[in-house]
Every structure is written in C-alpha cells, then in structure tokens.
Amino acid sequence: MRPPAPKPPPPPASSSSSYSRREPRPENPLLLLPSCRAAKLSLGCPLLDRLLSGGLPAASVTEIAGESATGKTQLCLQLALLAPQSPLSASSLFLHSDLPFPLHRLRRLAPKSCPNILDHVLVAAAHSPAELLSLLARAQRLLSDPGRSPHRLPIRLILLDSIASLFRADFDASPADLRRRSALFFKISAKLKELAYRHQCVVVVTNQVVDVVERDAGNTVAWSSGRRVSPALGIAWANCVNTRLFLTRELDGDGAGGSARRRMRVAFAPHLPEQSCEFVIRRDGVFGIEPPQR
C-alpha cells in the first residue's frame, strides 16, 4: 500500500500575484522586443525616421536641443499632431514654459482633413520647476486613470518645451544653488522616466543652447550659426536624458538673407550610432532632405 501522497504545495498562481506586488520582478527582454520595435513615434518623414531607426522610442526621454529658430517647437507641434494618427494612436500632453503657446502654428500645421485633431493635444503651462512637478503629478493621475474621458485617446506622448527656460531665474552660479538645481533636474527626469516607463509614453524635452567659452566639460559641443554651443543646463542635465538630438544651423555663404542649412544630429542615444541628417522647415512641417549626391 502506498503511503498517502504528500500534501501538495499551495498552488503558485495564487501566491505569485501578491508576490509580484511585493517584490521586484525581472522582465524577459525577449518579450519586450516586439513592443520596443513597434512603439515608436514617427516624425512623419522617412529620412528623419531612418536617422532615428523608426522614430522616437517609447519609455525613454529624448531631448531635442538647439538654438532658437532651429525648429524645436516646430518638431514638437508636428509630433503632437502626428501622435493621434500614428500606430501609437495617442493624445499628447504639451507642457510649455515659454509664453505664449504657439497656437497659430499648431492650427496652421493641423491637417484640414481631420478638424478635431486638436482635441487630442492637451496643453498646460509651467513656469517654474515646482509647477512642473505638480503638473507631472497631476499627469500621473490622468495617465493611470484613462477611463475618465472615453472619447479621448490615451496619452502616450509628453512634450516639454522647454526645460531650460524653467531654470532661467531663481538660480545663482554658486555651488549650493547648482546642487539644488541639479537635484531638481534629477527629480524631474525621474518623474518623466517613470511616466514614460509605466505608461509606455514617448517623452520629448526641448533644450536651449549656451555658448561654450572655456574648455568643454564633457558636454556635447557643436557648431551652430558660427558659434560653439552646448545644450544648456550642463552635464548634470545631460545625465538625465536617454537620447540627445542636436539641431544645428549653418548659414550659407554670406549669411544675411541666405538660406540656412539645418542639421539634426544624434549626439548620443543608447540605440543609435552618431549620425546626422539635413532637414528643412517648410510650411507644412519639418522634413529631412537627401544629402547631395557627389
């Protein structure tokens, strides 16, 4: 006669759910691969998409840096309008710190065919780091509870234009202030990254540039309009973004009145080689152009 079978251990299924809530759980990168490839936000131009290997990645923070009038805001507006029609099928949250919000440009860019596309662009203004953080906290509630407005697409795109103008005031160049400032960078970035990861959002942050006067301190440097420039906010902020795109402009020939040649350069990115693509700003948006055949 066989002894009674030992009591089976409690089924793992029931315990594993509470287990996973309490403990960190590893993910299998192989299972993340399809979504990583699919969830990219196209820039609406095959050449620029090729530069970015498909578009802007979700769950990570992309910085677009460049001096004024290089097309940063234009790109953001374009992305906000593309997101509802893209495979991402998403609303966007446009946080702006520069006044006023470029509503006219947005309307001009909006395709005539779908008049209600502007419903999918949510706009909020933030004028200080503290305001931005409280906005992001509100955004988190909005993102975690998407059922609130069934007619609206879920928010999968967060645009922040621009991070640098939030930090223009209130901060000295003293070490104590710089420390306070960089702590805020990391706080903002951590919040953005958390939202990006938990809700698979594309996050885009624009940044201004500063002239480089002394030896560069490890930050990205590029020539734009004949100046040696570096993205603003220093190396501390550079640590806060995953991908950095640098928009530069060179004046052709004598400059005055001449057309500017604009370039989008991948300064660094975990998934892209350093390369660049020339682009133009047209009435209907930002488009890459083929390098001239030699």
């Binding site: 993340l32 691969l33 990006a196 190396i235």
Partner: protein, 394 residues
C-alpha cells in the same frame, strides 16, 4: 623535475569534508606513503612566483584576440597540472575546506590561505569586454567576485559596455566564455532591447568567425547561438525610484539563491554578472541629508560585494560624472562623492580623447593604472580598428 599534483580524498565523517593534499609524485609512490601533512617548506620555492605569473598571463591576454575571455590563457605546464580540471578547479577549490600549509588541523575559521585564493583566482575566467585593449588593462576582462565601477560622461558608452557585458557573459563555455546569465538593473531607461539584439547578433557573428569549424554543426548543435537565446537569458529589472533600487538589491540575494543550480557542477545557467545602470541616478534627486545617502550607499555596496563573493559573479556599477567645485574651478569627477569611491574594488573611467573613446583604469588592487582606446561599433564594444598602439602605462 618535481611536479605537484592536487587531489582530494574524503576525510570521512569527521565534519571537515574533503582534504586537499599537495603531493610530490615520485615515480610509483606507494599509496600508503601518502603524506598527511605537507612535507616541506621547500615546496614553496617550487611554486611559480605569483607576481610573475600574473604578469605573464596578463601579457598573453593583451596579445590575444578580442572574442573570448583570454586570461584563461594556458598557464605554465607545471601550473596546468596543478589546476587539473581546468575551469572547474576554481569552483572545486571554493567548495572545499582547504587544508594546506599554515592552516590549522581543523581550520576553525574556514579560512582560505592566500595561495589557494590565488590559484582560484587564476583559474577563473573573466568576462570579456569585447575589446582586446580594454581587456588588457583590466587583466583579461571584468573579474568575477569583484565590484567594478565604470563611469563616464553621457554618450561615452557606459550603457553600451553594460549591455555588451550582459551579452558576453553568455558566450558558451565551449567557445571560451562563461556560459552564464546576466541580471541587468536599469534605473535610467537606457536599456534598449533592439540594441541588445544587435549586440547579441554581433557577438554571435564574432564567435562564428572565431570558431569557423562550428559553422557545419551550427544548424543542429548551436541552438543556443541565437540572439533570442541571449536576450532571454538576461533578467531585466526596471527601477523607478531609489526605494525600488534598494528593494531590488535586497531581493537579488534571494533571487540568486533561487536561481542557483542545486548541482554545483552545472554552472551554465547561473547568473555570473549583475549590472546596475546606473547606480547613481536615483541618488542624485532629493537627498538633502548627505550623511544618510552615504550610509545607504555604503550599505548597498557592501551587500553587492557580499553577493559577488558568495555567488562568484561580477558586479558592474555604472556611474555618472559630475562637476566638482574645488579650488575655485569646476572639475569632472565621478558622482556620489569621495566615500563612495572606496566602495568599489575596481574603477574604470571612460572618457573622450578627441574623437576617440578611451578607458582609464583608475583604481585596481592588482593592476597598474593604464588607459586604452576602444570603439563602439554597430556590433558593440570592439577594438579601435587598425589600432596597434601599445597600452600606455602612466
């Protein structure tokens, strides 16, 4: 010539498990003449000098190729006999109580003597970085049982190196790798799976180039040489706050315990590297109390060191760079302050030299300070092409 042979006999039920004896093999030594205690101090003179041995193995590592972990380069013949069993020796030694000269009869502390530690260390394989020059300054690659910190400015290749190591640790044993698994703790969100796939493909194509004979059997026998397989053997943790980071590291010990094979002999499916990318990010936000931060961080690094030792794995911590205000000017240093700089065994700084990437070994208990160029290519971290510069020792 005197040849030392290492073998073990069971010591019976007296608690101390296996004993290892150093013997001198005279021809036809009768078994009953097995000597219970090491015979003479003279044998220490017969040993190869550790220092010279290390330099010779490091030298060969420098000259050898980039694909495989190279400090398993053949030791001198006498050594090879001593390490009979090859890569298994390290583990075997680790699991035995060692009774050797100097150690007491019962070895009450369970201590190892330095000689055994050295032989164990030298039998260890290292995790190749993908670049032969970089392996050269690191003494063959990233060492298991040690905590290595890698820092550098954004975009210099920290994450690339981290991903590369997570892939390279999986190079199967038959191709000269460790055949282990990786834990990747991502605090910054830079772990792009499509890039990991690319690097895995690059690694596989290099393996096949290095071992051309395996092409024939690759259709049947090399199921594990698939990028998908490499991806699936990374345990990926995405961390969104410092509390989660501490929780993940606390959990790691339990996790590794569960994923350790019961049979010690099979270590193909063990985690052999833990990468934290980056250790810094969440500790630069709102720690007004810097003393608390220092305490939390040093506890964290102690834990990681313990894990590295206990599970025979490499811990790689990626760190950011910050500007430090000293003597009226701003200078670049690795983040987290001075006390943190003591908490890693090795410290590597990645930097730009013009348009070339360089790695600088800043701190190591056993290797000289040196720098070497490396490149980040489509396939991952590699040597700078057509680079025949010598490693510069400063």
């Amino acid at each position: 010539m005197v040849v030392m042979v290492l073998f073990a006999i069971s010591a019976g039920p007296t608690g101390s498990s296996d004993l290892i004896f150093l013997l001198r093999t005279a021809p036809a030594l009768p078994p009953r003449l097995l000597i219970r205690r090491p015979v003479s101090r003279r044998s220490s003179a017969d040993r190869p000098r550790p220092a010279s041995h290390r330099s010779s193995s490091a030298g060969s590592a420098r000259s050898s190729g980039s694909c495989c972990s190279s400090s398993s380069a053949p030791p001198p013949p006498r050594r090879r006999r001593f390490l009979a069993g090859g890569s298994d020796a390290g583990r075997a030694v680790a699991t035995r109580r060692v009774l050797d000269m100097g150690a007491g009869e019962n070895n009450p502390l369970g201590a190892q003597n330095a000689w055994d530690m050295l032989s164990e260390e030298q039998s260890q394989k290292h995790i190749t970085t993908g670049s032969g020059d970089l392996n050269g300054i690191l003494g063959g690659g990233i060492h298991c049982k040690e905590v290595t910190e890698i820092g550098g400015v954004p975009g210099v290749g920290k994450t690339q190196l981290g991903i590369q190591l997570a892939i390279n640790v999986q190079i199967p044993v038959e191709y000269g790798g460790l055949g282990g698994k990786a834990v990747y703790i991502d605090t910054e969100g830079s772990f792009m799976v499509e890039r990991v796939y690319q690097i895995a493909e690059g690694c596989i194509s290099d393996i096949l180039e290095h071992f051309p004979h395996s092409h024939e059997k690759s259709s049947s026998g090399n199921k594990q040489l698939q990028p998908e397989h490499f991806l699936a053997d990374i345990y990926y943790f995405r961390i969104c706050s410092y509390a989660e980071q501490i929780a993940a590291i606390n959990y790691l010990e339990k996790f590794l315990g569960e994923h350790k094979d019961v049979e010690l002999c099979i270590y193909t499916s063990q985690v052999r590297i833990v990468i934290i990318d980056s250790v810094t990010f969440h500790f630069r936000q709102d720690f007004d109390d810097l003393a608390l931060r220092t305490r939390v961080l040093s506890e964290l690094s102690l834990k990681l060191m313990k894990i590295a030792k206990a599970y025979n794995l490499a811990v790689v911590l990626l760190n950011q760079v910050t500007t430090k205000f000293t003597e009226g000017s701003f200078q670049l240093t690795l983040a987290l302050g001075d006390s943190w700089s003591h908490s890693c065994t090795n410290r590597v700084i990645l930097y730009w030299n013009g348009t070339e990437r360089y790695a600088y070994l800043d701190k190591s208990p056993s290797l000289p300070v040196a720098s070497a160029p490396y490149a980040v290519t489509g396939k991952g971290v590699r040597d700078v092409s057509s680079n025949h510069k010598r490693v510069r020792v400063t």
